[in-house]
């Protein structure tokens, strides 16, 4: 056998065997099916306002007939649809029976707490009108709180907000007994619960 023939045959054999080995490596049949990415993540309920920790009003030396009107923007940032109710758990002092309270929902183009510049009330009017003392008696928990929704909706969805105008007026007809009296510090609470 000639040398050239030997070279060619050797190359052929090695190449053929190598190719077979390579096909064995790359040519295995297989089949799988998967169901990946299963996960459960709880939703959130979160509500916030734009007061930065400051009070809406703090009046001293109030005169009969004196009124204060402030606005606060409440924003819902949870992922679950929610109900929101307004109430107070504060104990109101003796002056509370002579302070008229009105809470009106609406909107504001550029809210800046506690300014009501540009506030537009919703068409439905005030959510609460009465004395501060009555509010504290009748609306003192989530269960009996004032219910409100953005616009005409029936839920608070993520990133929806409402601006509330809170007006407190010392009654013009406040009696002598009201002199020097105080409402005491009181807190308004907006509580959200998922639907």
């Amino acid at each position: 056998m000639k040398t050239t023939t030997k070279v060619l045959l050797t190359a052929l054999c090695v190449g053929a065997l190598g190719s077979l080995a390579a096909m064995g490596v790359f040519g295995a049949f297989s089949s799988t099916t998967t169901n990946a990415g299963n996960t459960i993540t709880a939703g959130t309920v979160a509500i916030a306002d734009n007061d930065a920790g400051a009070a809406m009003y703090s009046i001293t030396n109030a005169k009969p007939g004196e009124s204060v009107s402030k606005c606060i923007k409440v924003t819902y940032t949870g992922s679950l649809d929610a109900d929101v109710r307004i109430y107070t758990t504060s104990t109101i002092g003796a002056l509370g029976q002579y302070v008229d309270l009105t809470i009106t929902p609406g909107s504001q183009a550029t809210p800046t707490f506690p300014s009501c510049t540009g506030f537009t009330p919703d068409s439905g009017g005030a959510l609460y009108t009465g004395t501060l003392a009555s509010f504290a008696t009748a609306k003192n928990s989530y269960a009996n709180g004032v219910v409100d929704y953005p616009g005409t909706g029936t839920k608070w969805a993520a990133n929806e907000s409402v601006v509330y105008q809170v007006t407190a007026t010392l009654q013009s007809s406040a009696p002598e007994a009201a002199q020097g009296a105080t409402t005491g510090a009181h807190t308004f609470t907006w509580e959200a619960r998922n639907q």
């Binding site: 050797t10 065997l17 080995a21 734009n50 920790g53």
Partner: protein
């Protein structure tokens, strides 16, 4: 039967050629190199709201939707932050990504008023911007967001899709 030097040489050459053929076959069977043949990454940024600071566009509208991203790709977006409180606020922004898939791969730069608030990995932005934005009551500021995958990245981005919420964290400056 004795083997001549010429035969041994010839066999060695033959073996080398055969091994070379095998190696060529294996190399030819490899997937194509480069980034063109793999799925791209994508990033979507939204500005989360809270009570004190409003954002525009606000979530769920994206402020940045990258589209397909491969090493070397950049994506840009802007949003406005507005202080709704009656106090001056120092506002930092922190990232809340939907997954850690691009944490170490994607780079993010936040810039406002010509100042870089933060630049680094998406993971680093989870801790918040290094520099706060100072916002007067009612004041607003435009924030620029740039996200990219560095050109030298070879892997770790393929087919990964991450949504990032930028959350404001405020401190009142009294």
């Amino acid at each position: 039967m004795g083997t001549s030097a010429t035969d041994r040489f010839t066999r060695a050459i033959g073996a080398a050629i055969g091994l070379g053929l095998v190696a060529a076959l294996i190399v030819a069977a490899r997937p194509a190199g480069g980034h063109g043949g793999v799925l791209p990454a994508s990033l979507r940024f939204t500005a989360a709201l809270d009570g004190a600071v409003a954002a525009e566009p606000a979530a769920p509208k994206p402020l940045l939707a990258s589209g397909p991203m491969r090493p070397g790709s950049h994506a840009r977006g802007d949003f406005t932050l507005r202080n709704q409180t009656g106090e001056t606020l120092a506002v930092r922004l922190r990232a809340k990504p939907s997954s850690t898939a691009l944490d170490g791969t994607a780079q993010v730069r936040l810039e406002s008023r010509g100042v870089v608030l933060s630049e680094g990995t998406l993971q680093a932005l989870r801790q918040g911007t290094a520099k706060p934005l100072r916002l007067a009551p009612g004041g607003a500021v435009l924030v620029h967001v740039v996200a990219w995958i560095p050109a030298e990245v070879e892997t770790g981005y393929e087919g990964r899709d991450v949504a990032v919420a930028l959350e404001p964290v405020e401190e009142t400056l009294r």
